[in-house]
């Protein structure tokens, strides 16, 4: 099997400060990888390098494209990368407002992604939008409302619908459940679990919530000061952490 994503020696510096460095891993189709670590450890920097939002200073990110197999997304042209981010990739932001168009209706937010990949038939687009709103448990009669009229949890579900409607193969998520109530989080996690399985998605999820990775991620990467300090099967890293920092991280939460 070819990995969907092959990351080698990614490094990003902000002047003299390390964003992240020496990061390498493979991600296979259907795999979900969690990235945990304290604030400032480089999680978002890494995710943004992988998703093409930041240009790393070193390393390569090979993505298994549908047409040409493995391609380095860092060196490919900007239009090619933009096309990938509209079709094969999805990016779920921590703050729904960063991933939604707040002055466009819920239906428009979902439909827009389809139009960006050349869907033209109004009825089909509206039909897909309704289908996806339903999947993320937003009722059809809210389709013409703007996201500003939605609760935080609903906005986050709308962002997920907007991202997944194009049938991506790889989803990047930066703290997708951050800032939500625990009960709302549980519902969102359950939704994400179902979608990941049904669509055989690969995903990379950044979070500092160990319960979230326990539920969603097959594999875990622990970061500190821009470095990856421990990796492994999620339950193994959480139940038998090897590194001092990981032990501290795991023992600092009550129960996961």
């Amino acid at each position: 099997m070819t990995p969907l994503l092959q990351v080698e020696n990614i490094a990003k510096f902000y002047g003299a400060r390390i964003g992240c460095t020496d990061v390498s891993f493979d991600l296979y189709p259907g795999e979900v990888m969690g990235i945990v670590g304290e604030s400032g450890s480089g999680k978002s920097t890494l995710l943004n390098c992988l998703a093409g939002h930041l240009t790393p200073d070193d390393g390569s990110v090979q993505f298994d494209t549908r047409a040409e197999g493995l391609r380095d997304t860092i060196t490919m042209s900007e239009p090619e990368r933009r096309m990938l981010s509209r079709t094969d990739w999805a990016f779920v932001h921590q703050h729904a407002r960063d991933g939604l168009r707040m002055n466009v209706s819920a239906g428009g937010n979902v439909g827009e992604r389809l139009m960006a990949i050349n869907a033209r038939h109004y009825g089909d687009i509206r039909g897909s939008a309704i289908d996806w709103l339903g999947r993320v448990e937003i009722s059809e009669d809210r389709i013409d409302d703007r996201p500003t009229a939605f609760s935080g949890g609903m906005q986050q579900r709308l962002q997920i619908a907007r991202n997944l409607v194009t049938g991506p193969r790889l989803v990047f998520m930066d703290e997708p459940t951050g800032g939500l109530d625990v009960s709302v989080q549980a519902r969102l996690l359950d939704l994400l679990r179902g979608l990941v399985r049904e669509m055989n998605l690969s995903a990379i999820i950044v979070t500092h919530d160990l319960a979230v990775v326990r539920l969603l991620a097959d594999r875990l990467m622990v970061m500190k000061d821009g470095h990856v300090i421990e990796t492994g099967l999620t339950d193994q890293v959480l139940d038998d952490p090897q590194h001092a920092y990981t032990q501290l991280l795991v023992s600092s939460v009550l129960q996961v």
Binding site: G232, L233, D240
Partner: protein, 227 residues
């Protein structure tokens, strides 16, 4: 089916003065197809630890743990995930519940994950829940609020839904009444008959005698370690 060779384990507590807790040294064990082997030894002897190492839940640094043809001690995470999905089942002592997922789905999940159609998976899950006396009105609810014994039976139903060639059972009968205990023992012997290699931990002597072909006292791998 399962072959453990010279496995050692110690925990290093880095944040408590780097205390090293040696748990076992050079443990070896083989379990053949259709065989059930009991792990015995006092509380804290390392029974659950060895079982978790076989499942890949605890890291194994020295020795080999072969389940089928996969060496758990050396396998990549995705190989272990594949092994757990298709070959190696584990009934842990406590059910780890996913919020909002119904009991029926919890039990059907291992079948769905291996490609069983939804309808067939539901039928199997329902018959297991019925057999383990989980009242039908509870099937659509999340097991989060169930009693300890009910959760344990849901856990067992889940562990037996898919016919794994190898099974690890950590105290599967611990919080069960005699009738349910007998059902679980019957399920274990059926699994043996279809060829499953089983490793079990049973506090109940009678249950262990009834179902296990042999026993391994893990204390013999821990003697002299704890100073």
């Amino acid at each position: 089916m399962i072959s453990i060779e010279n496995v050692s384990k110690s925990f290093v507590l880095h944040n408590q003065g780097a205390t090293e807790i040696p748990v076992m040294q050079n443990a070896s064990l083989t379990v053949a197809v259709g065989e059930c082997v009991a792990l015995v030894g006092a509380s804290g002897a390392g029974k659950s630890t060895l079982m978790r190492m076989i499942y890949g839940n605890y890291l194994t640094v020295t020795g080999r743990i072969l389940v089928g043809d996969v060496d758990v001690a050396a396998a990549a995470p995705r190989e272990i995930i594949h092994l757990r999905r298709h070959t190696l089942g584990y009934v842990s002592q406590f059910l780890r519940v996913v919020p909002r997922v119904s009991t029926l789905d919890v039990v059907a999940e291992p079948l769905l994950a291996t490609g069983t159609p939804r309808e067939d998976a539901n039928i199997i899950a329902q018959s297991l829940l019925a057999r383990l006396n989980i009242p039908e009105r509870l099937w659509s609810l999340s097991p989060t609020t169930f009693s300890g014994g009910e959760q344990q039976r849901v856990n067992i139903a889940r562990g037996f839904a898919y016919p794994y060639p190898a099974l690890l059972l950590d105290e599967p009968t611990a919080s069960l009444d005699p009738a349910n205990c007998a059902t679980v023992l019957a399920m274990i012997s059926e699994a043996k008959l279809r060829g499953a290699a089983i490793i079990g931990i049973f506090h109940d002597n009678a249950a262990r005698e009834e179902i296990c072909d042999r026993q391994l006292d893990v204390t013999k791998y821990t003697l002299g370690l704890a100073a």
